[in-house]
């Protein structure tokens, strides 16, 4: 990092904060603060939805995911377009008709206060945790580069977001997200182009694809079904659809994005925009990871991608052990590179026998390389017992810092921070609106002036930002950031979706049945997580939770004495 990088990084971030704060200053009522006075057009909604979902975790973790596991993670998004269509057809018109601020308001109209409060509570728990992780991801970046304590960096980023989110509310969130998405997409495309440009000149684009494919990184679609396998076409089309239905249809951080639309048409088009562009966007991010993987076949990768942590170990009594392991690692890399050179020759000469032989040699060297990496991680753990030895989230960042030119480094760091700020701002805005509308205004202070609720919303935004900062410290224990985010989501989304599906489609089911069913569903999902984590992939929690809520509610309703039928909204 040099002066140019710092200027670009902080220039970008401070400009975004000032622009968002200045352009949306003077919010005077809760309508404008939480719904942005319903002025958003479809493309703004679409961009806002995408920016909310794509946090810094997406850009830090996903390329590393592709480098290690290939592109099969893309299948996770296959259910998204289907979910967009279902939400556009069913949920959005109901929210518009009822003119709600939050999705959970509908549940009181349909059931009762306790069901609304339960769903809002589950959302607050889930989103509060996720906001912490959203904040933690860029905090690692800054602490890695500056060698600052993670607590300091977390507080600094949190403060940036608080300034414009508290000041301008949902309008500031949407406005800044446009700028942020432009920076994010531009920066990532540039990173991909640079990764390809850094490959040896005799490697064509076709060769790059062949090499990646032969080494198992273009495994985009995998058709084998297994309950314990997280990413295959079946989990993508089935389990992910449930996850995305719940996320986009019932999670206030997304619902608030399209409820700010100018009309129902604009909101629907925003969702369609997301349904069309999300998979290509994720493909691009994963493909950048594949390009970096190919780059590291021709350039020796570090034995451990979190360089500052490795440097800390080098100052302990384990320094010699680490040095020996690094030397062995370099030796193995030479063997691996020979195998790669032969692989390229085999591909370019269309010599299948040579390709197969090279792949065997490559995997043999890779196995030894992995063994060294495991020993390095054990050494780090022995030297610094509290250190996190998972380095996947550092892979892309380390590449950026080590190989990209100055200026672009600053820009890409601005990408990470912008992504973190955009999704965190949406999350804080949604947490504040749910706390204000569904909890505070509904259960604690029903009669107050609009200005009072506006002040309350601002207070809750700050409160949730502080809670997110506290959770950010816990995220340090997570194995892999992007998976941790999705696991946390999957713990609650199934149950929330189940409640909403019963509300929308099972008019005979009443409040007590669905309330008990939700408790049963959530307890079952938590049971799966704590006792069957290895047997059942987390994406299936969404189906389990949802199906259990719907089925239990139906059964309970059968055995419940008829209560007075509350008229459901048409």
């Amino acid at each position: 990092m040099n002066l140019l990088d710092w200027t670009i990084l902080f220039g970008t971030l401070i400009s975004i904060v000032l622009y968002g704060t200045w352009k949306t200053r003077g919010a005077k009522n809760i309508e404008g603060y939480l719904k942005g006075d319903n002025t958003m057009k479809w493309w703004m909604i679409g961009v806002s939805i995408m920016a909310t979902q794509a946090s810094a975790v997406t850009f830090l973790s996903t390329p590393g995911q592709a480098m290690e596991d290939g592109m099969r993670f893309l299948q996770f998004y296959f259910g998204l377009p289907l979910a967009m269509v279902i939400i556009s057809v069913t949920m959005v018109p109901i929210y518009y008709r009822l003119k709600v601020y939050t999705a959970y308001e509908y549940l009181e109209t349909r059931f009762d206060l306790k069901t609304r409060t339960l769903a809002a509570g589950l959302f607050l728990m889930l989103r509060g945790l996720s906001a912490g992780i959203t904040l933690f991801a860029p905090a690692i970046v800054l602490s890695t580069i500056l060698g600052w304590n993670i607590f300091v960096t977390t507080a600094l980023i949190g403060l940036f977001v608080i300034i414009y989110t508290v000041s301008g509310g949902t309008k500031a969130v949407s406005l800044t997200q446009r700028t942020q998405m432009t920076i994010i997409m531009g920066g990532m495309i540039l990173a991909g182009a640079m990764a390809y440009r850094l490959l040896p000149s005799h490697i064509s684009f076709g060769d790059t694809l062949q090499i990646a494919g032969e080494l198992g990184k273009l495994n985009i679609v995998t058709t084998d079904f297994s309950l314990s396998d997280r990413f295959n076409i079946w989990s993508g089309l089935l389990a992910s659809t449930f996850l995305f239905l719940s996320y986009f249809g019932t999670d206030q951080s997304q619902v608030s994005r399209y409820l700010g639309g100018k009309s129902l048409t604009e909101s629907r088009m925003g969702l369609i925009f997301n349904g069309l562009l999300k998979i290509p966007m994720q493909f691009m991010i994963l493909f950048i990871g594949v390009l970096v993987f190919v780059f590291y076949l021709f350039n020796q990768p570090p034995v451990f991608h979190n360089q500052p942590l490795k440097n800390s170990v080098a100052k302990t009594v384990y320094a010699d052990t680490l040095k020996n392991l690094e030397e062995k690692y370099s030796g193995i890399y030479q063997q691996k590179q020979k195998a790669v050179t032969n692989l390229v020759t085999g591909i370019q000469q269309d010599n299948q026998a040579l390709v197969e032989e090279s792949k065997l040699n490559y995997y043999h060297a890779k196995k030894r390389e992995d063994s060294i990496r495991t020993k390095v991680k054990k050494t780090i753990s022995a030297a610094l017992p509290a250190a996190k030895t998972q380095d996947r989230d550092y892979m892309f960042l380390n590449f950026v810092l080590s190989y990209l030119p100055h200026g672009i480094i600053g820009l890409l760091l601005a990408v990470m921070f912008s992504a973190a700020m955009s999704s965190m701002a949406s999350e804080l805005n949604a947490l504040a609106s749910t706390t204000t509308v569904d909890i505070y205004k509904r259960s604690f202070k029903q009669e107050a002036s609009p200005l009072h609720y506006l002040r309350a919303s601002r207070f809750f935004t700050i409160m949730w930002a502080l809670i997110a900062m506290a959770f950010a410290m816990l995220a340090n224990q997570a194995e892999n950031l992007i998976q941790f985010v999705n696991i946390v989501g999957s713990l609650f989304y199934g149950t929330i979706l189940g409640i909403f599906l019963v509300a929308f489609y099972l008019k005979s089911v009443k409040s007590n049945a669905v309330f008990i069913a939700a408790l049963v569903g959530e307890a079952s999902v938590l049971l799966c997580y704590f006792f069957y984590y290895d047997e059942i992939a987390f994406l299936y929690y969404n189906i389990i939770g949802c199906v259990l809520v719907v089925a239990t509610a139906l059964i309970l309703q059968l055995f419940t004495p008829r209560e007075e039928i509350k008229k459901a909204p048409k």
């Binding site: 495994n219 129902l264 290509p280």
Partner: protein
């Protein structure tokens, strides 16, 4: 309100078919790429 006309197409079903069609096409292309380079 749910009858509001969409842009470009005559009805919303066309938009939804487009989204699902594009998704199906993407899955097929990705499946083809997977097999081509594996």
């Amino acid at each position: 309100m749910s009858d509001q006309k969409p842009p470009l197409f005559k009805n919303w079903s066309s938009w939804y078919l487009l989204v699902l069609g594009v998704m199906a096409a993407q899955v097929l292309v990705f499946y083809w790429i997977t097999n081509l380079f594996s």
